[in-house]
Symmetry: D2
Subunit: 448 residues, 4 copies
């Protein structure tokens, strides 16, 4: 069974030369990536975070980029049928498929190998601009919500409640685009937006190729961007947001928080305004105490002062965000900076260059109190990034399968802190969706 469809958006307007390049990309090294990401969005709404399971289930799935006189067609063989209604693809999925084509095959050819900091930031910006994420004259009101894809029911309900309160206050939502804490705030916001008669609410999902299968865009995401790697994805989050909310989560959420604090600790960013709120339901109070303590003992008091912890008060979260937004806009105005892309935020190359989560890199990442705080934050970020890869990313899972668990070493005290934190993530089932027992992909070496 083959279905042909037209891409939408700017993928609907290509020259033969561009189509030819797309086809070339599609037939060589990028094909597998393209196919898998496409499958992930076609499979939106599925209930597993195990990429391998999905790939096995749709082994017969095939996708091709066809050249036509007037542009390009996408041909699907044996796609998941729940992406179609009476034989016609669901519009939202057609848009997501077009986003995959755009971000994986099209935009990919544009950049030459220039890894200067300015060039990486330009690339991040250019991908977002090409995806029409940045809309100059629109109201600046984008809140990024981070948190686990695997969270408990009462936590999920709370993320919806926060989303609802944000939606009532006209905020748009950006998340990592998967389930759990990435879906709840969007879902809540749709109700808030509906009550306020806002019918152009934005639910932006930023993902990357290695995570999209495990955390496919939920049905509410109406703008999807696949950034080339986790580092550009994180840079995108912080530059386009007017505030960031962090819900309970596992290793990925810890990675995000460490990335964010590492950047905000930079002396050049001292005057920056960016409201950061850690929040969860009453039952999560202890969880945040733990996180807060971990930050305090690794990055220190200065880092702790960058965020605010609010327990079980969705309305207060949204009100705090509203107030914070004013400061953000005043600061941007003062600096002459753009409202929709924070150009003046300094991000060091340390945080920009892709970290490949293999055994060697994991072993070599230095964790020590002798590092300056920003470098320590950067390195801690990498450790958690590696664990996410070992948990749910295809490459990481393979590496673990072949070479055993990652060994994490470094300062004894910090090792103890990390171990405790990770153990609590495991106990609380934050590492993987429930249903199977979690087998750690790492070992923290507490004593050397």
């Amino acid at each position: 069974m083959q279905i042909q469809l037209n891409p939408v958006g700017n993928m609907n307007l290509l020259s033969p030369l561009e189509v030819q390049q797309l086809q070339q990309s599609a037939t060589c090294q990028l094909y597998q990536l393209y196919r898998n990401c496409s499958l992930a969005v076609l499979n939106s709404g599925s209930h597993t975070d195990d990429a391998e399971v999905i790939y096995q289930q749709y082994k017969e799935f095939n996708i091709q980029v066809l050249r036509r006189e007037r542009g390009v067609k996408i041909a699907l063989e044996n796609p998941p049928m729940h992406a179609f209604v009476d034989g016609k693809i669901i519009r939202g999925i057609q848009e997501h498929l077009s986003a995959v084509l755009r971000d994986i095959l099209f935009i990919n050819n544009r950049y030459t190998d220039n890894d200067s900091s300015a060039s990486i930031t330009h690339q991040t910006f250019d991908i977002l601009r090409n995806a029409e994420i940045i809309i100059p004259d629109s109201e600046p009101n984008l809140v990024t919500c981070w948190g686990g894809h695997s969270i408990q029911e009462h936590e999920y309900k709370y993320t919806k409640e926060v989303g609802y309160q944000l939606g009532l206050r006209s905020f748009n939502i950006c998340t990592g685009c998967g389930p759990g804490a990435m879906k709840g705030p969007m879902k809540g916001a749709t109700i808030g937006h509906a009550k306020q008669r806002i019918n152009n609410g934005r639910y932006i999902g930023l993902t990357e190729p290695s995570i999209i299968a495990a955390e496919p865009p939920n049905a509410i995401v109406n703008e999807l961007v696949i950034m080339p790697d986790i580092e550009k994805r994180l840079e995108a989050f912080v530059r386009i947001s007017h505030g960031i909310i962090i819900f309970p989560g596992g290793a990925g959420t810890a990675e995000e928080l460490l990335y964010l604090l590492g950047i905000m600790l930079h002396p050049k960013n001292k005057a920056q305004k960016l409201p950061i709120i850690l929040t969860g339901p009453a039952q999560s109070a202890e969880y945040f105490q733990q996180i807060d303590a971990f930050i305090g003992e690794t990055l220190g008091k200065e880092a702790q002062e960058l965020y605010q912890i609010i327990i079980d008060d969705a309305q207060l979260v949204a009100q705090t965000m509203s107030k914070g937004l004013e400061d953000v806009l005043n600061y941007r105005k003062e600096m002459g900076d753009a409202y929709h892309f924070n150009w003046s935020l300094a991000i060091e190359p340390d945080f920009q260059h892709p970290f490949e989560p293999n055994h060697e890199n994991m072993a070599n990442t230095e964790i020590s109190y002798e590092l300056d705080t920003a470098t320590l934050a950067a390195n801690l970020r990498r450790i958690f990034s590696g664990i996410v890869a070992g948990n749910v990313k295809s490459e990481g899972i393979k590496a673990i399968r072949e070479h055993g668990v990652f060994k994490i070493t470094g300062d004894t005290k910090i090792m103890a802190l990390i171990d405790t934190l990770l153990n609590s993530f495991v106990t609380q089932q934050r590492m993987k969706l429930p249903g199977s027992e979690y087998i750690p992909c790492y070992k923290v070496i507490r004593e050397q």
Copy 2:
């Protein structure tokens, strides 16, 4: 505590003369009605269907229509605070409040006492037109969903699933605007619409003054009309719909079905196209057998042929509706009729004139096989209408309190059928929202 706000929509553009009339209306007989309906919409989202409870809870609530140089202001004293966000009224509720002003105070003065059939239909049309419900050049795709306000969780889930499948197929939804089967299809449709990137989905709620408190507009309703009475409300439903779906429900749903069949049985309506689907989850199969049998034994086979029963197949319901829509539009085209208001449907005065559900009228309503089928349908409709009033409408509850239960008499066989049907409604908790024991407001006299 007093809050003043501007009405929106066409209530935002009034002359001093009109404002004066509004004020006059507001200060005399209509005030109580206006106040109560306003309170009902301010109280949207509350969890009781007992109007008296709501009215008791907000005894201090007060509403006034103020005259200003440039038009009118609404002044609220002690309103329910959940209608506000950071001191500002929620836009959707502001719109609903404006609809109450428009439909109760403003439109009310327009009609002289002419109760010819053409005049009643004109009035129904005029109220809908004034509320901008009829949009000539829009896609014709409105499905009315009827069903109980008090339904079980699995039934509610099923109504959402049907709404979702309708939304995926671009249908808009019209209901009686309360909770339960009136909310589920709208909620489901919002997800279907979101996936299809339809951001102007319509969720029309048609209500009437005596029911609005018990079944206030749910949060999804984005177009609200308060028709003057249940008869014009029913006429509005059938004339603006392109198809009707009936979910499990109690006396109100039975009233609606009987009204619909009574009209469709009219010889002049023989050629009319209007898909009617009775549907519910697997567990509701027996419920519909019962209803179907009741119709068969009272109105006969011809009536049974007017509808289709589909059990536990939301997708089939939506697909059947899609197909039926084609027939509807072809028929309208052929007849030169409007796509958005079914002028050619014949509705007899019997179905148009308000039935006042008091003890005398209930007692005098003839139920007999000697009546022609349409008249029997009309009278059965009245019986169920009276029971709804006795259950949840303010006037009805008072009448029962004073004079005891309604006595329902007539043909012995039919009395038995009615009694059985009503008993099953009671058993299945369809008469009232759960939480209290249901005490019947009627007595069926089975043997005379």
Copy 3:
């Protein structure tokens, strides 16, 4: 040859009862009026101001209102063919035809005979609201331009230049909707709007049944309203405008200026803000001296202070209007008045009640220094109104044909002033479009 077409706008959504009323109106006393106004808009762009000539040319023209299941159709027999492109009516003319249907046949039935001042103002407002002229949330920027339909080429060019400068400053234009000074400002504004990329410029034409044939809506008018009489038309002009510009003109322009000054002289209007500018090209300097002198000697210095004369400086006119607009909006804000309809402007019944320009009324209109200034202004206004009727209105022309010229009597000094002014209008060919010799329809009795 018969052509059937659908009306547009709110005439596209009528009930059978309304269609029946339309048909009744159309078949009796209103038919001739309806037919003639329809012919006038179909004949837009023609080059005569002699209604009789037009009516003669299209004696075979016929119009009918047909009832259809879904509403109404307009049937045209032998219409002017330049209203059609390849057999299809030009959209703008279809809109104008619908406006005639709406204003002559539909709105007409609405009002009962209540001629209180408040009721007349309400009616004026209601007609404008029904025509969607008043748009609450739009930018307030409407300038009314008055002036002759028969003006010289250099004057016409100047009106275009003023319109251009107004358009560059985002002003919308309202005029009496005919040729000459009613067309020039609109034409100029379209260029100004185009340069500023304003693509929703409003070119509002306000007319009345007795003048529409002589001064049919020019092609640029995109919103047409036919007010019931000259008095409501004048009230509409002053209440919806944020400023008024008066170009050279004849008796009609004098009528408009006298009406305006008469109202603004009212003690209650002392604080009102309304920029009034008399302007023309260099060659018109003398013309305005004459007008100014006439006002000075009849209504006095106070009246002269209400307006500003600007000669040959289109840019200054527009800049003055921009500045004046600020004062207007500040005043309205302060008063709590609407931005789009000046409710707080006092207009006495004297200026509201229709003046029938027959021989008796013309003879009985008292012109004397003993009258208070406002009454004198009102009566002078009537005199000029009568002369316009005698010149170009069907009724007036007939009256003159039957009973001879109007005799104008009164205070000797004023009579001399009037005579001189009218003579200059005649000499300057302001009374009628060039092409025929002007034969006065009046005689000023200078000595009694």
Copy 4:
């Protein structure tokens, strides 16, 4: 006096890297070009076609690209003041200035030196796409109008009449964006569009750097693109148009006609549908006879059959275009080609590679009956292109000043034909705007 302004459109969303590139471009070789084009659009509405005169008049004019945190600013020193209203730049001119920035400085860096045919076509497409000229889902209805910038009053009136008739039929207009036959059809179309209530009419001006000063965008152009050279400009015209109308003109118009015929004569384009109409007022009949004879005697009967000559019938021109449009769309549908960019039209490199109009190239261009027809057309096109350059383009004028007139040689018979044609252009004042005597920049060597 310095004025700073923000660019609009996609020039409003640039990264620092891009701004830096813009600045680099602006400070070196491209600066002069950028400055001159900017001056040309600021000077829109001026009355000379002598670029040198304009440049002399505004010697003090200076433009700079400034880098700001949030993007780019344009700084103007001593700009022509008629581009401003009360100190604020006219929006249309701001858009044109942004187009110059976009097309001269920004897009310029994108293309590597690949002059394959496919690459040139891609570049043409890419520039148009980047300028948002190609709108996939819009109605296909674009007519290109060619003709002289210096035409007589009755010819100009006729171009307006044709534009009016096209506008009445919903056609959009594309021209070379200057005065004369490039302005008339746009002006006429605005009236047609206004009457049909089309408020998003498109008036596309395609120009190139060397002609923009002599023929600056007229005030009606609401979409401006500066193509890199005349060849890509011509390719853009023929690929985006659904029909082409040719009015009387001089050497430039002859160049356009020869280009068009040369392409359409290509065997691969035999089945192509593209209505080509040569038209003018009654007085132009002879002019077109002359052109037609010239085509007949150089390119033959087959070429003559590609166009239709319509004299003095604007309505027929528009009706013929309407009919032709149907064929065009049917053909595109059949071919699977795009509606808004004619990909399937074959254009040989001969017609794509820029022809530099210097003395050597002019002398070496072979004109002979021994060439195949398409090559002869290509070479004749170059001859006329060179003459346009010598007449009004800055480079060309300088070349003539230094080295004397171009010498045109070749087949004796064709030389005679060319000489006669050019002489008639001179006599009819089609070479330059009236006001100065025309001194030919060429000499046709009739006998060798």
